[in-house]
Amino acid sequence: MYILGLDTSNQLLGVAIMKDEQVIGEITTNIARNHSVRLMPAINQLMEDVDMKPEQLDKIVVAKGPGSYTGVRIGLTTAKTMAWALQIPVVGVSSLKVLGYQGKFFDGLICPFFDARRGRVYTGLYQWKDGNLEIVEDERNVAMEEWLKLLSSKEQKVLFLSPDMKKHQTTIETSMPSLAVIPDASAYQMANPSHLILAGENEANDSVYHITPNYLRLAEAEAKWLQAKENHANG
């Protein structure tokens, strides 16, 4: 059983291959470069390194966002098209959930997040229970300050995980001085493509036709259009 995992939903580019519960290869870079140019060569390279052919794949797991709209679409399009062509299942996993796997042995609440600009974040609240990462508060696009108020009200320790930690660390520490747990090394703040495969194993297969990104936000034009329609309806 060979499973390919791929993640281009944020700055990190991650590709991993698992063979029967064993991670046999991983390529991860965390630099601001073009995912479109680098994703397929990375997949090709990794497959060559572990000496396998595309036909041997049994499943593809993809990080479906939130994150960069374009990055999410590159990964998802690649995953669903490859799965369709190879006639194998595809599974989309929330990019936040993948990050939450870094907190596997943390006994408390887990808050993975990505910066969404202007003081906002893409985030959700999770907790490990009986070996499963369970959702405690739904994923959303929210102002960090508002989100931290909700987390504080829970009066429990919260592990914060994010590649964008630098931008928000002060706000978090100010607002939850005794409850916030922040790992100091960036290695814990990055999504891991092998974790992505683990997460995908516990989720139902998606349709290669209907799997869609987890944007957590409407396109700006659509949001405005809906707003205008609502204003109109309210007279």
Binding site: S36, R73, T78, T81, P213, A219, A221
Partner: protein
Amino acid sequence: MKNATYILGIESSCDETAVAIVKDGKEIIANVVASQIESHKRFGGVVPEIASRHHVEQITIVLQEAMEQSGLTWDEIDAIAVTQGPGLVGALLIGVSAAKALAFAKHKPLVPVHHIAGHIYANRLLEELQFPLLALVVSGGHTELVLMKEHGQFELIGQTRDDAAGEAYDKVARMLDMPYPGGPQIDLLAAQGEENLTFPRAWLEQDSFDFSFSGLKSAVINTIHNAQQRGETLKKADIAASFQASVVEVLTEKTFNAAEKYQVKQVLIAGGVAANKGLRTSLENKFAGTGIPLLIPPIKFCTDNAAMIAAAGTIAYQQGRRAGLDLNANPSLPLQ
């Protein structure tokens, strides 16, 4: 022994998600287009982010439909051709990512195609090309005269210096409060109006095959404003007819002059505006009796589709053009 060449083409440069399979660059085996136009109408134009979102939702559905329509097996497909540019970068990236994933999964060569080369090669789905030929490419994003001396060779001899012809149509349509897309509406309205307003024709320098439509657009605005100030209302149909007459005359004359100068054996019309009745009629009249054959494809071949990408991709494939798995979308890809 296998003689035929089957190319699968993917197009996603603007607001159509399209996949087609073409045999020997001439015969359509499958042709599927998922149009997003209904979704973009509410915004009054194509919104790039919305376009990208629709492409990612549609791509495998359209691929499946095309493969089913073709009745072919993967063994019979020789290569994957894809629009590399120009177009909306986020939209192009969906087609490019899908094409690379397919090429990798199915061990097929990957062939990059220029969108305009596609529009020109749409004509080969109807009639064999004769060189040298001249192509007038007119669409929402393009107004170009392209000279081709042989297959796969494109020489840009004229282009717009400001707005594309289709863009001017859409802008004038907006001034006349017509819904998006405006081009076809102006064409319809023009047929009911009279050419009784004088709008400028931008001929530019003598011998230049370049175009300019921004002056015409301003003239239309000014004429409407001046009439309003005098308390007069102009008939929309007359504005449309007069505007269209200016665009069509310049396009027709420049195309004719270029055809004579380069002694071409064929003149092809390509791109969405080729569907315009006024333009078709004017070109047909001008070229009638000249001995230069004029090819204007039916409307479904003028608008964006993937059969044209597969057709252009067939020649590129036969000429040995290949892209690696690092192929990127290029929103301003030059034609060469």
